[in-house]
Symmetry: C2
Subunit: 338 residues, 2 copies
């Protein structure tokens, strides 16, 4: 049988367990060109929250009763495509299920010559690593000796952004996170020179100014809202604001207030550049370049990361909720099958 978590009702604000329902359906059969993938890990990505909203929200809404979609890591069990063979480990868009049948092109084989553990493909060698590397270096166009500011800096993406910035010669890397524990990890493990605890900071703009008196050449935005407003007060001439996600907007019941200081973009001839990692996933050669560089850093011990693995299919809804409460440490994934 094929277990699935489906959308029982649309969450209002933070997602709750009761928004999801478990069902069992037959294992799907594949058609020509498709593969059957047994899902080993389901990735808990904040962006999934967007798909759960009703029409009129930003993303194409997931119909009620549909399996929840997201990035998965799995193994090919059956194939009707020359592109993928049985036994290959693949990643791609799947769902919160034991099995998914889809065109082979929806999945890409994870490189097995990088000498890494399976879990690594859920984090630095998966979409998170690609997001951090591509966002900071290609979208943000970070140059050596520049300064970097990162919101959500102790999260999966942020934890890599800080380290990659340092590995590429950034002069100063400042993070923003919520709570002393996250700030400690950011500085001790993830390369940050300083971390601002926004929960303990009355004037975030002033706190950033103190931590980065010259301003940020690159601001890596994961959060939005008040973070973006405070960051806009502290950008350098020709700064790049890289928008990877706006977590503050995902669970918002009301539209998130926009920054009132966009004029700072003009004063600094700065840019806001949004990107989606999904757009680069089909660029296999580019992706391989990114992951090879990251694999080399891992092998030489210069890039640390943590995968927070929750165990079992039934753990998915609560794990997803943890993503927004901050009750996790590192990249949050659920191991569904061995």
């Amino acid at each position: 049988m094929n277990r699935q978590w489906v959308l029982a009702q649309r969450p209002v604000g933070l997602p709750r367990h009761s928004d999801f329902a478990k069902r069992e359906v037959p294992v799907p059969t594949i058609k020509d060109g498709e593969v059957l993938v047994k899902i080993l890990y389901a990735m808990m990505d904040p962006a999934i929250r967007n798909f759960l909203n009703a029409a009129g929200s930003y993303m194409t809404p997931l119909p009620l009763g549909s399996p929840i979609v997201g990035v998965v890591l799995g193994r090919v069990e059956q194939t009707a495509s020359p592109a993928l063979q049985v036994g290959m480990i693949v990643s791609g868009f799947g769902s919160w299920s034991d099995y998914v049948a889809a065109p082979a092109g929806n999945f890409s084989r994870v490189p097995d010559d990088l000498g890494s553990r399976l879990e690594d493909y859920t984090h630095p060698l998966g979409t998170i690593g690609a997001t951090a590397h591509h966002g900071l270096l290609s979208v943000g166009n970070l140059a050596a000796a520049e300064s970097v500011l990162v919101s959500g800096c102790a999260g999966a993406v942020g934890s890599l952004v800080g380290q990659i910035a340092k590995l590429k010669g950034a002069a100063r890397v400042v993070g923003i996170a919520g709570g002393p524990e996250k700030c400690r990890r950011a500085c001790e493990s993830y390369g940050y020179d300083e971390c601002i605890d926004y929960k303990e900071t009355r004037d975030l703009s002033a706190a950033i100014r103190k931590a980065l008196p010259q301003g940020a050449n690159v601001y890596f935005e994961n959060v939005g809202g008040a973070m973006l407003q405070a960051a806009l007060d502290n950008i350098t001439k020709n700064a790049r604001i890289v928008v990877c996600g706006l977590i503050a907007a995902y669970n918002a019941v009301e539209p998130l207030a926009g920054p009132t200081n966009l004029w700072n973009l003009v004063v600094n001839t700065a840019q806001i550049r949004a990107f989606r990692v999904a757009d680069i996933l089909p660029q296999h050669a580019y992706l391989r370049t990114i992951h090879s560089e990251i694999a080399a850093w891992i092998k030489s011990g210069r890039l640390v990361y943590k995968v927070d693995v929750r165990d079992g299919f039934d753990a998915i809804p609560d794990s997803f909720g943890c993503l927004f409460s901050g009750a996790h440490d590192g990249r949050l994934v659920v191991k569904i099958n061995d």
Copy 2:
């Protein structure tokens, strides 16, 4: 004697005549490397409004009692620099004065081989032409067959942006302006396929969607506020939002509300790119390329424009006020001296 308009008090909201005071001072003497320029035309640019605000606003504030600064067109009367000779027509940053003494490098000679009238150097062959051309083509990176949306489309910059977009093969060019007269001019004279009268439009976002069902590849932003919010609802994948100015912010007493739909940037992997024409003014070769192309369009009758010349030094404060009330037609300049 040298007449000057100085800042008498900081405007609150729209600038009034009483915010400025007239005084007479001696004609300045020049030092080594400087030139004395007799000002012929003072340009009425919305950006000047920013300099009048107090510290804490976005720009470096002009001290009370100082001459109002801005772009001028003038003639070299005395020179102590080999770079500029007496009699040359030059443009650069000056002030609302009869004479200004400044380093020769502050001024650039207007090209006298483009076969144009003196007034043309205040508009298509001056900073306005450079703003429209550079902003749309280099910053906005407009490609043929793309769609363009322009706020403030009947203003000086907007009137050129629409025409340049069409000359470069844009598929559809839609403008936003206030009032039927401006909208008529935009469509009849300035190349716009359609113009939305925002004063007569309850739902600006829906009106843009109707005029541009496929969305805007480039949005040329002169205004900000509600315009930006509505435009963000109507951008294409990989859209470029070019921010030239945010007129709505200039006279705002309270901070302008920010767009609540920045998530659309992520959905569309779009960019906001701000620029200042002042940054390209020192790039003489690039500027000359821009102005040569514009001069060719003028000569072949393919670019129309209007200079609204107000006469006399005393007309400056009221002319500046007209800039924000919309009681002008085309590029607003004041002719100070012959």
